[in-house]
């Protein structure tokens, strides 16, 4: 019944843009999972909390610069500073986690660092929620100009454009670092074979720390974008996006950087557009609460046909 008038091009365009925006956040966070997995074969479950720390760092900077009252050129300055602060805070957190919780366990059985990762994740989310905020939720001030870009009947808000553009730029820079710099080469070498890389004179520890830091910086950026877009942040906010981003990384082919990006967009779209598509079938009317069910069902389907993910890992391309 409601189906007929929902099927306007504008509606689909809105939902696709929404899917791509959420997808860009998943993609940015997924990069950290996939890089660390590529290098250490470790699922860094604390990565969602690294994302949360970035969101709070950005929130603090925006608040310190005047919150709601930021306007004009100061908006650009504030956003840049917030992103830098988030990148630094997340990067520092990830380096500390690696040093304290993972490095001592590097040669332990595979499950030990995994449990350590879950422990760090629980610790950080509760530290912020119960230690600092007493369970409260904070809200990003909506400083971004509210306008939209119109193409005929189709509209995209400036915020969504900025989000998609900024995340693409960040991912491009990361890809360039991995593919074209000495640091990137050392990371790829360690991913291929830690022992051989060490024999060739690569500083393995430095490469591993760099992997954590780069992934964390992306997650920190994602935290600020998340806050700007969805507004509510809390200590436990990293859990769901963390699980989703991890899923995106597996879907794309864990260990593969382009895979994480594609997986992120796929999951974002599956969530927003998947349910609406099913609702186009006459007689089907899935309520909004089913969006995750639809997204994850699609995911299982993809994995059945491509068990190693969309981008099957190629030798030498890991990292």
């Amino acid at each position: 019944m409601s189906i007929l008038f929902l099927t306007t091009p504008e509606f689909w365009f809105d939902q696709i843009v929404n899917g791509l925006t959420t997808g860009s956040i998943y993609a940015l966070v997924a990069l950290g999972y996939t890089m660390v997995y590529g290098v250490l074969q470790l699922i860094n479950f604390a990565h969602g909390e690294v994302f949360m720390i970035g969101a709070f760092a950005g929130y603090g900077v925006l608040l310190a610069l005047g919150g709601q009252d930021i306007s004009g050129v100061m908006i650009v300055v504030a956003l840049v500073l917030a992103l830098i602060a988030a990148g630094l805070a997340s990067g520092a957190t990830a380096i500390a986690i690696e040093r304290l919780a993972y490095r001592p366990l590097r040669n332990a059985p595979r499950l030990a660092p995994l449990i350590s990762a879950i422990g760090v994740s629980v610790f950080l989310s509760h530290l912020v929620d119960d230690g600092f905020l007493n369970g409260e939720t904070k809200h990003y001030d909506q400083i971004f100009p509210a306008g939209k870009l119109s193409l005929g009947a189709l509209n995209v808000s400036y915020l969504q454009l900025f989000l998609m553009g900024a995340s693409l730029a960040m991912m491009a820079v990361l890809y360039w670092i991995i593919q074209r710099t000495k640091l990137g080469r050392s990371i790829r070498a360690v991913a291929e074979s830690r022992d051989n890389a060490a024999l060739m004179g690569v500083d393995v520890n430095r490469a591993i720390v760099a992997t954590f830091a780069l992934g964390a910086i992306m997650a920190g950026f994602a935290g600020v974008l998340y806050g700007l877009f969805f507004s509510s942040i809390r200590g436990s906010m990293g859990f769901i996006p963390g699980i989703k981003a991890f899923t995106a990384a597996v879907l794309g082919g864990i260990g593969s950087i382009p895979g994480a990006v594609v997986g992120g967009y796929f999951l974002g779209l599956a969530e927003t557009v998947g349910r609406e598509l099913l609702n186009e079938i006459p007689g089907v009317n899935l309520p909004n609460e089913w969006k995750d069910v639809v997204a994850f069902a699609l995911l299982v389907l993809v994995l059945i046909f491509r068990p190693t993910g969309i981008f099957t890992q190629q030798e030498g391309k890991r990292a």
């Binding site: 409601s2 008038f5 509606f11 074969q41 369970g135 509210a146 969805f230 969530e271 609460e289």
Partner: protein, 417 residues
């Protein structure tokens, strides 16, 4: 291949962990309730069905000389609903400030029910074990529904200041409503009816889009609103959209709202989610001036400080009114004006205290309280409270209902008369 194997194993491990945790929680839950049954000495549930209310078998409670009389408070003291829950707890406790009954002081035992179906029974268990004679709470409908049987088994009468779901006082069980449960708030059905009238009469809306929290309160209130809105000539457009607590991404729902072209959007839920919802709604230039109507869970000062400009012009319904004893309440609790359900909480405690004064018997310094007589005295309440005149009608619901409306203007709630 190795990767896949590891992941699969890991997934199974996680599932197993989750399963174990669930079992552990379930077991500990069982454990504590069976313990409280043992101390209460009542029959409780059997395979053949419910036998008798704990009230019929409840013993008298004796308060030793010099000891305090304990009254429980089950409220959300932490988490997302705490800025609703803390003022409720403080308001209830304020009613006992300086009150003594035959020389015994009152002591309020506070337990955190988190406003959840898991937290409610846990708080109820702890309160019963603490030796309370009656309780204020739980504050939310989901937590209340899950706790009714625990208070009933223990023979403890409890009064909720804010649980508004319709079926709490008409549960689907052969023995009928729980006799140990009373409540002072105006019900969801009364609130929804008034909201529908206001939407059609004052907002002049014909087509509404409904958004709701998928908990008991949100489901019930939104369903009642839809029924009343349709009965009064309105149309519900699009499919009502449910969301979960802590959800922050409302963009997909908002795209549906835009496509359905309503005259207004109706939300049944709490301010924690209403804040990002309104911010995302107002960020869309086309929906900037779409009228928004919310209820008592959303009308909170946190909405104003969190959503700021996005909250502007929102309509909020607030059941209840201020009664003759509001000044007494305000004298004891300085934030009385902004405490949603604060007057009701003060009244809950006042009702319990008045009933205690009637039934408590002094035995040479010791105080004896007959729990059944206390229940009876609460049932016959007829007082002027901070939230208006209070009498209990059928099934423990409050008789008579008043709903007020507010609009956010320049960052403040302004009452629409």
């Amino acid at each position: 291949m190795g990767t896949k194997r590891t992941l699969l194993r890991f997934g199974l491990g996680l599932a197993a962990l989750a399963g174990l945790a669930a079992i552990a929680t379930a077991c500990s839950g069982d454990d504590s309730s069976s313990k409280s049954t043992a101390t209460g000495g009542s029959a409780g549930f059997t395979a053949a069905g419910y036998k008798a209310a704990g009230l019929d078998q409840a013993k008298n409670v004796t308060v030793d000389a010099g000891a305090n009389i304990k009254i429980g408070i089950s409220s959300a003291l932490s988490g997302d609903v705490k800025s609703l829950g803390l003022p409720i707890a403080d308001s209830a406790a304020a009613a006992g400030d300086g009150v003594t009954i035959a020389g015994h002081k009152l002591e309020f035992v506070r337990e955190d029910d988190l406003c959840t179906p898991e937290g409610g029974p846990a708080a109820a268990d702890r309160l019963v074990k603490a030796g309370i004679v009656a309780a204020v709470g739980p504050i939310c409908s989901g937590g209340t529904r899950a706790s009714l049987a625990i208070y009933d088994k223990a023979g403890i009468t409890h009064i909720s200041p804010s649980a508004t779901a319709g079926d709490l006082t008409t549960p689907a069980r052969p023995e009928g409503p729980y006799v140990t449960f009373f409540r002072v708030p105006v019900l969801n059905s009364d609130e929804a009816n008034a909201q529908a009238k206001f939407s059609i009469g004052t907002i002049k809306a014909k087509k509404a889009f409904v958004v709701f929290d998928t908990d008991d309160y949100g489901k019930d209130l939104s369903q009642q609103f839809q029924n009343f809105f349709k009965a009064q000539g309105g149309t519900i457009v699009g499919s009502p959209a449910g969301y979960e607590k802590k959800q922050t991404d409302f963009k997909s729902i908002i795209a549906n709202i835009k496509a359905a072209k309503p005259d207004m959007v109706y939300m049944a839920g709490f301010y924690a989610e209403a804040t990002p919802f309104l911010q995302q709604l107002r960020a869309d230039a086309d929906l900037k001036s779409l009228p928004f109507m919310g209820g008592d869970g959303i009308k909170n000062d946190e909405l104003l400080t969190g959503a700021k400009d996005a909250a502007e012009n929102a309509y909020l319904a607030l059941p209840g009114t201020t009664g003759p004893k509001f000044a007494d309440y305000k004298a004891k609790y300085k934030d009385a004006d902004s405490a949603t359900f604060g007057p009701e909480a003060w009244d809950c405690a006042t009702i319990i205290i008045d009933a205690l004064k009637k039934v408590a018997k002094d035995n040479g310094g010791k105080l004896t309280i007959d729990l059944k007589a206390l229940n009876e005295a609460i049932k016959n309440t007829d007082i002027d409270g901070a939230s208006g005149h209070i009498k209990f009608g059928n099934n423990g619901d409050r008789a008579g209902a008043i709903v007020r409306f507010f609009q956010v203007k320049s960052g403040k709630y302004v009452e629409i008369k």
